[in-house]
């Protein structure tokens, strides 16, 4: 929770594994790193047991790089594939019981504000579509109605990938899965609309085949959640196992799905726009100068 968080205890430096030494000396703590510098600094995320070629892992890797202050961030997760990678990062990870991650994050966020006052401490929930839209639905929605100030990220792989391929609320209508052999009979839940109705200050959809966009979306969501209110990001992170996507075609699938039904959308409330502009110097929300009228000097 501070720059002192990852450091050597006196006398132990030479006994620490190489990965730990690299993290202390060349990690992103206390520096500004970006996606364009990837491959030249030690990342917060370490080796993890997720499947080869998993798009969710790529998204998590990009998201953790995009955190504005990784040393002041706590991630909260729940059962599902994502926690296998998130818990392998050198930032604190709280594992909620299935479905209560947004309740845990609410308490955590309030507690950190009481303890640290104005010093920003970011809480980011990263859970799957089952944890967010099905089993954790009640707590997710209530945290939004209460305008709890933390970020909720849904890793939407459109299936219960960890337990063998059951349909989730976010599975598309008609999708046939190993544990849903007749095909899903209902539409995919519109969580984006629900987030807007519940009063989230920032709502975005993103696909990890555009790393810079993922970085920008995560940064905005975390910054807005510091003061304005709840923020929600829904990321398409395909399950190449349950949807039988060859690993080398995962990005091709992401591109197809993005063009087809997962276009980038971003909703920013007026208050959040003003906050980003005034506090963090964002220029994209400034009023555009009126276009010159042809024929008039």
């Amino acid at each position: 929770m501070s720059l002192d968080y990852v450091k050597f205890s006196n006398g132990f430096e030479k006994f620490m594994p190489k990965e730990y030494r690299d993290m202390v000396e060349h990690g992103p703590f206390g520096k500004k790193v970006s996606v364009s510098q990837m491959g030249s600094f030690k990342e917060v995320l370490e080796e993890h047991p997720m499947c080869a070629g998993c798009a969710m892992t790529l998204f998590i890797r990009l998201a953790i790089i995009a955190f504005p202050n990784p040393e002041d961030t706590i991630t909260v997760g729940t059962a599902g594939c994502g926690r296998l990678a998130i818990s392998q990062a050198a930032i604190p990870f709280v594992y909620g019981n299935y479905g209560d991650q947004n309740g845990v994050a609410s308490g955590l966020s309030r507690g950190l504000r009481l303890r640290f006052g104005d010093k920003p401490k970011d809480v980011v929930v990263m859970a799957g579509d089952g944890g967010t839209a099905d089993i954790g639905f009640q707590q997710v929605l209530h945290s939004w109605f209460r305008k709890e100030r933390f970020t909720t990220i849904m890793l939407d792989n459109e299936v219960y990938g960890n337990t063998g391929g059951q349909e989730s609320g976010m599975t598309n209508r008609g999708a046939v899965l190993k544990m849903a052999p007749l095909g899903k009979k209902f539409e995919k839940m519109d969580m984006l609309q629900m987030a807007k109705v519940a009063g989230c200050a920032y709502v975005a959809t993103v696909v990890p085949n555009n790393p810079r966009r993922v970085e920008s979306v995560i940064k905005k969501a975390v910054l807005i959640a510091r003061e304005v209110g709840s923020t929600y990001i829904q990321a398409y992170t395909s399950c190449n196992i349950e949807y039988a996507i060859p690993t080398d075609k995962v990005m091709e699938d992401a591109k197809t799905v993005e063009n087809d039904r997962y276009q980038f959308t971003e909703y920013v409330s007026e208050e959040a726009k003003q906050y980003l502009t005034e506090r963090y110097g964002y220029k994209e929300f400034l009023a555009k100068p009126a276009a010159a009228i042809p024929g008039k000097a």
């Binding site: 190489k18 990965e19 690299d22 000396e25 060349h26 996606v35 364009s36 510098q37 990837m38 491959g39 030249s40 600094f41 030690k42 990342e43 917060v44 995320l45 370490e46 080796e47 993890h48 997720m50 080869a52 070629g53 998993c54 798009a55 892992t57 790529l58 890797r61 990009l62 085949n209 790393p211 690993t247 080398d248 075609k249 995962v250 990005m251 091709e252």
Partner: protein
Amino acid sequence: MYLVADISVEICAAKSCKLCTQYCPEANTIQYSDEMGKDRGFKYGSAYVAVDRCKGCAQCVWVCDNMAKNNAIKMIMIDQLPMAALTDNITYGEKSTTAVLASPVVG
């Protein structure tokens, strides 16, 4: 034996787009070195693979072939690689990394 990604320094150092490292799902697996191409007279540095971390998904191959259109990455059986980068032999600098290549099987 199993497949790992292998990046051709000759092709990579000519363009140096860094896309493969941004699309790899594994952290610190496709690394970037400023020196790797320059010692052979190329303008830029090159990306390289820490083969002990590579899971062989070949996502980087698709990105290099179809997005960057460089065709610099091939999947190769790990015992067919004479020399490769390993995490233990990678040192970080201010803005780049340096890898001492070694036998991927023996270490």
